[in-house]
Symmetry: C2
Subunit: 330 residues, 2 copies
DNA sequence: TTGAAAGCGCTAACAT
DNA sequence: ATGTTAGCGCTTTCAA
C-alpha cells in the first residue's frame, strides 16, 4: 500500500506538499498540484484514514445501534439512515443489539475505542447508564437516555389517537388494544400509544379494553392467544394493535375463524412500513415518517458533532399519518 | 479521553509496561499488573484502536456490502453475519449498495482507506473490476467476482430442481417460471434457478414456460403483469417464482381472480425467509440455509485473513431445502 | 521484570 | 510556494 512519502518521492516534492494537495489548503502552484495528482494516480494512492484520524481529524464513522435489523421497520429506518449518512461522507458501523444489554454495552466500548464521531441508538434496554456519561455525541430514537441526549420519535400519542378514532369512525364500539401493555408506567415512548388509545376512547365515551401480548412470544403462541381471545370475546368489533405484525396475525386468525374483516371486525396497525404495505395494502395503519425520522436523527447528530450544539431534555416529535384502507372500512 | 501515558503515570510504570499488560505478553509481576489494572479502571481507560491499527495490527473491521437491507432475505443474512462477526470480535461497516455501482465503488475506497481486515460482498453489479485487483481478503455471496475470490452460495440449481419437481409431483403439467429471465447467459449464479427449472421439466417430459418479470418493476406493475398473464393463460397450473415476494404477488392476484390455490394452481417460491414464512406459512418454498451461508462466508473470510489461505476458482455451494406447504398441496 | 526510544502514516505549526 | 519537524496514541525492538 503506497503511502504519503511514496507519492512525495515520486512527485519530487515533500510530504507536506502532498498533504496539502490532498486536503486542498495552503498555496500550491498548478504545476506541483498536477505532479502530485499524477503520482497519486500512478501509485493508486489511498490516504490511510487511521493515521489521519489519529491527529484528531474526524473518523467519519457513526455507530448505529438498533434492537433488530430483520424487523422491516428498523430495516427501513436503518437503510434510510445509512443512505443519508453516506451522502454526508459518513460510514455506518452496524450494531445489532438483539435485545441483549451485554452485547450493546460491548458495542459501546468498541465504538468509543474506534473513535466514532457519533452514535445513533434505537434500543430499548434501560440498563445501560454509559450513554449519559459518554462525552460522545449521541442521539436516540424513541427512547429517553438522559437529559443531554436528544430523543427523536414519531408522535406515538397522536398516532394512537388517529388509529383509535378511525376505529370509532368506522363504527366500532367494543375496542381493544393488543400488544405489550404497561398500564401506567410509560417510561417507553411507545407506551404513549396506549395512552392515546385510552384518551380517544374516553373522548368518545367508550371504554378501553386490553389484551396483553408480549412481544417476545413466538408467532404461534401469539396466534394461539389471539385465537383464544377472539373466540371468547365475540363482542369485540375493533382492534388497535401495537404494530403491523400483530395486526396481520389478528387478520389471519380472524379469517380462519370466519370472522369477516372489516364487516364484523375493524383492525388497524402501527408502523406502516413499505414492505408490509406492499404485500398487505388492505391493512389500515399508522405510518411513521421513516424518512423524516432518519433525516432528523442525522441532522441532530450533525449539529452535535459539527456545531457542538448542546441539548437539554430535547424531545423532537414528528407527526404520524393515517393510512386508511380496507381493514377499517365501514 | 485517558491515554496510555496517563495510565502509566497513575500506575507509576512506563508505557511499555502498560502496553504489555493490555496485550498480555512479556513477563510481568503480579504487583505491576494489578497496579496497572486499577489505574486503568480508575481512568476508565479504553485503548485507541486507531493508534493500535496504525502499527499494522488488525482493525477488526469488516465491510459488508449488499444490494439492499430492506429485502428480508438480505436483512436476515446480514443480521446473521453481523452476529457471528461480533462473536469473533469484528465490527461491521454496513454498505448498502442500493444497486448503485458508483456508490459501491465509493464504499470500496472508503473501506480500504479505513484499513478494513476484509470484505463480504453480495451485490450484483458486474461493472466493478476493483475487487480483483485489491489485495484485501474478499469473499462473495452468490456472485463471481474473479478467480481469487471465493464464491459462497446456496445450490440454486438443486433448489430449482426441488421446487420444480414439487410442482410436477403435486400434479401440475403446464408450468411457468416467473422472474427475471436471462435465458442462456447464466453469468449470475441465480440464473441457475432457471436452468434447474428447465432441466427438471425436461426430465419429466414437460415443456418449460416463462414469464419475464423484471425485478425493478414496482409492485403494482408486477401485479398488473401477473393479472394479465393469469387471465390470458388459463392453462397454467403450476408456477415457480424466482423469489417469495413474487410468489406472494401471484397468490394475491390469483385470489382476486378467484383462482383456487392450490386446487387449480400450484405456486412455489424461493428464499424461505423467517419473516415470510411466519406470515405466510401456507407458501411452499425453497429455503436457503441463511445461517450456514453466513457461517461459511465468515469462516472463509477468516481463513483468508488469519491463515492467508489462497483460493482459486473456489465455489462453495450449500444445499437448499424444500418447505412443502399448502400452496403446492395435491 | 522493566524502560527508552523509534516509528506506524499522516497533519500542521513553524520556517524559509 | 514549499520544506522541516514534532507529534497523534500506541506497539515493539533493544537494552538494562
Amino acid at each position: 500500500m503506497a503511502k504519503l512519502s511514496d507519492v512525495a518521492k515520486k512527485a519530487g516534492v515533500s510530504v507536506t506538499t502532498v498533504s496539502r494537495v490532498i486536503n486542498n489548503y495552503g498555496s500550491l502552484s498548478e504545476k506541483t498540484k498536477n505532479a502530485v495528482f499524477t503520482a497519486m494516480h500512478e501509485l493508486n494512492y489511498q490516504p490511510n484514514s487511521l493515521a489521519r484520524s489519529l491527529q484528531g481529524k474526524q473518523t467519519k464513522l457513526v455507530g448505529v445501534i438498533f434492537p433488530s435489523i430483520t424487523n422491516p421497520f428498523y430495516a427501513e429506518l436503518i437503510a434510510d439512515i445509512e443512505d443519508k449518512l453516506f451522502k454526508n461522507g459518513y460510514k455506518v458501523i452496524l450494531c445489532n443489539a438483539n435485545e441483549n444489554a451485554e452485547k450493546e454495552l460491548s458495542y459501546l466500548r468498541m465504538l468509543t475505542a474506534n473513535q466514532v464521531d457519533g452514535i445513533i441508538v434505537g434500543t430499548h434496554s434501560n440498563e445501560i447508564k454509559e450513554y449519559q456519561t459518554m462525552d460522545l455525541p449521541v442521539v436516540s430514537f424513541d427512547r429517553t437516555l438522559g437529559t443531554k441526549i436528544p430523543t427523536i420519535s414519531s408522535d406515538n400519542f397522536q398516532g394512537a389517537q388517529l388509529a383509535t378514532q378511525e376505529l370509532v369512525d368506522s363504527g366500532a364500539n367494543n375496542i381493544y388494544f393488543i400488544g405489550k401493555t404497561h398500564l401506567g408506567s410509560a417510561k417507553n415512548p411507545t407506551d404513549l400509544r396506549e395512552k392515546g388509545f385510552a384518551k380517544t376512547l374516553e373522548q368518545n365515551s367508550l371504554k378501553p379494553h386490553y389484551l396483553d401480548l408480549d412481544n417476545d412470544l413466538s408467532n404461534n403462541i401469539k396466534k394461539m392467544k389471539i385465537r383464544d381471545f377472539l373466540t371468547n370475546t365475540p363482542t369485540v368489533d375493533g382492534i388497535f394493535t401495537s404494530d403491523d405484525f400483530t395486526a396481520l396475525l389478528v387478520m389471519e386468525v380472524a379469517q380462519s375463524l370466519k370472522i369477516d374483516v372489516p364487516k364484523n371486525l375493524k383492525v388497524i396497525g402501527f408502523d406502516g412500513t413499505q414492505l408490509i404495505q406492499s404485500f398487505h395494502p388492505e391493512l389500515s395503519t399508522i405510518a411513521q415518517p421513516i424518512q423524516d425520522i432518519a433525516e432528523l436523527l442525522i441532522g441532530t447528530l450533525d449539529e452535535r458533532i459539527n456545531q457542538h450544539k448542546e441539548f437539554e431534555n430535547a424531545k423532537l416529535v414528528l407527526p404520524n399519518r393515517l393510512i386508511k384502507s380496507n381493514s377499517t372500512q365501514k
